[in-house]
């Protein structure tokens, strides 16, 4: 790991890419150019990841108290730290008057994780969300419901039941999931949502059959896949779904391309495998904290070569004959 300071010029370029690509008008070409810039040098990607991390840190701070703290008057701070302190203490009651009368019962937050990052988000009702790598959620609580929109990625939610019995609703692109109290795992795949009830009961409705005929109920220990049209019947919960909580990836006789696409979730940049080796089978338990180590292990146990074009652009190919 290089821990050297990042050059300000690179920081500036990374910041400029990051801000431009956040704008919804940025097109596919611009995103591709940004990805290419990131892949060009390890420091580019490092700088980018620091911006992502900072952005998600800031986005966690959505409560009024946090905002009030960041918006506090600070013009005096540099001139005379001591005086500022006295001023702030004196001014606090005035400043706070402005925040009275806001609808406190509403609570909103967005949270996301960078690639390779795990994060715990605490909910105002005492529950919590564990976000897996590269995930994003919007959270909105009001008088009638507790809503979480899983935009991308995977999360484990601990839903506490409330005396007020507000339902807890998880929205994904394909489904709406409702519970009063449970521990549930939700993962968004392209075109489908995976759902597992670890504790408590959960109901799920596909977006296109919102009525009772589309409804599937999961009891504790059951899982299902939901497309936008239909939910599969409940199945017994498979093992290893929560391995990611301890930064582990466990596979048994899994195709290399499937393994690589799963591993790619935890590693920034591009990770690909040549079709010629896609069907090789792999078993084992891998520590996700060091994906380079995993790639090294692959080249030792399978007939593959690992090519690093940059640390963030890696391809697996059939071993060249030695």
């Amino acid at each position: 790991m290089s821990n050297t300071p990042i050059d300000r010029r690179i920081a500036r370029e990374a910041a400029s890419w990051f801000v431009r690509l956040q704008n919804s008008s940025a097109g596919a070409a611009e995103h591709a150019a940004g990805a290419e810039w990131r892949a060009r040098h390890t420091d580019h990607e490092r700088a980018w990841q620091l911006a992502v991390r900072f952005s998600s840190r800031a986005q966690q701070l959505t409560g009024e108290p946090a905002r009030a703290a960041l918006e506090r008057p600070r013009s005096q701070e540099r001139r005379n730290a001591l005086k500022t302190l006295a001023l702030l203490i004196a001014a606090a009651p005035l400043g706070l008057a402005a925040y009275r009368g806001l609808p406190w019962r509403e609570w909103r937050a967005d949270a996301r994780t960078a690639v390779g990052e795990l994060r715990t988000v605490h909910l105002p009702d005492g529950g919590q969300i564990r976000l897996n790598t590269g995930s994003a959620v919007d959270i909105a609580y009001d008088d009638s419901a507790r809503r979480v929109h899983l935009i991308t990625g995977e999360m484990l939610v601990e839903v506490l039941s409330e005396p007020a019995r507000r339902p807890f609703i998880v929205d994904t692109a394909e489904a709406q999931i409702t519970t009063l109290g449970s521990r549930l795992l939700v993962r968004h795949y392209p075109g489908s949502t995976f759902l597992a009830a670890l504790e408590g009961a959960v109901e799920v409705r596909p977006r296109l059959s919102p009525g009772d005929d589309g409804l599937v109920r999961l009891a504790a220990g059951q899982q299902t896949h939901v497309s936008i049209q239909a939910a599969q019947p409940p199945m017994p919960l498979a093992q290893h779904h929560l391995d990611w909580l301890s930064h582990v990836l466990r596979v048994e006789k899994t195709r290399l391309d499937d393994f690589i696409s799963e591993l790619g979730r935890y590693r920034p940049g591009l990770l690909r495998c040549d079709p010629a080796v896609a069907g090789l089978l792999i078993s084992g338990t891998f520590q996700l904290r060091d994906t380079d180590q995993i790639l090294r292990a692959l080249s030792q146990t399978l007939p593959v070569d690992v090519h690093y074009r940059t640390p963030y652009w890696v391809t697996l190919t059939a071993r060249a004959n030695a």
């Binding site: 500036r12 911006a51 900072f54 952005s55 966690q60 600070r74």
Partner: protein, 179 residues
């Protein structure tokens, strides 16, 4: 990981000397400024820790040791007051929150940690960048909305936002030692 590991023995010795000759001077200098012996002791300690951490990168300036120590201690003092004013503003605003919604102490500590990280960057920014950043990141306004509210062009808003991310990248890459 250990950012002190690459301090050469020669520099280590120089820091030892600085410490034994000037530590008590620094502590009393800080006490006069801060009015608290405990805070002064903490900050004096932090000054030497900072010296050890940065010694790997930059050469020690030993020709004017007290001025050098005072410069570092000054930066830490500003940071100390920034953090304290942040905590007080947060706790004061929290006191206005209905009890049912008040976060647990553990959660408050987590929030303060994140707040401090963001606040350190905001402290480096001009007022308008700060405002644009808070609107974008905390309130979820789009760049176009910020532009129309602040009566700026979208490009200018992007420049303000980029300034914030630039500072955060530089700052974060300097203090990687805590994870």
């Amino acid at each position: 990981m250990q950012s002190t590991s690459s301090v050469n023995p020669h520099q280590h010795q120089a820091i030892d000397q600085l410490y034994s000759h000037h530590h008590s001077w620094l502590q009393s200098w800080l006490r006069k400024r801060l009015g608290s012996a405990a805070d002064a002791a903490d900050l004096a300690q932090d000054t030497f820790v900072r010296l050890l951490c940065s010694a790997a990168g930059e050469p020690l300036n030993c020709s004017a040791p007290r001025a050098y120590l005072a410069t570092i201690a000054n930066r830490l003092t500003i940071n100390f007051y920034r953090r304290r004013s942040l905590e007080q503003a947060y706790l004061a605003a929290l006191a206005e929150t209905p009890e049912a919604l008040a976060p647990s102490l553990e959660h408050q500590a987590l929030v303060l940690e994140a707040l401090d990280e963001v606040d350190q960057v905001l402290a480096l920014l001009p007022a308008q960048s700060r405002q644009a950043f808070l609107m974008a990141q905390l309130e979820g306004y789009t760049q176009e909305e910020i532009a129309s509210r602040l009566k700026l062009s979208v490009r200018t808003v992007q420049r303000h936002l980029a300034r914030a991310f630039e500072e955060c990248i530089v700052l974060a890459s300097l203090c990687v030692q805590h994870e």
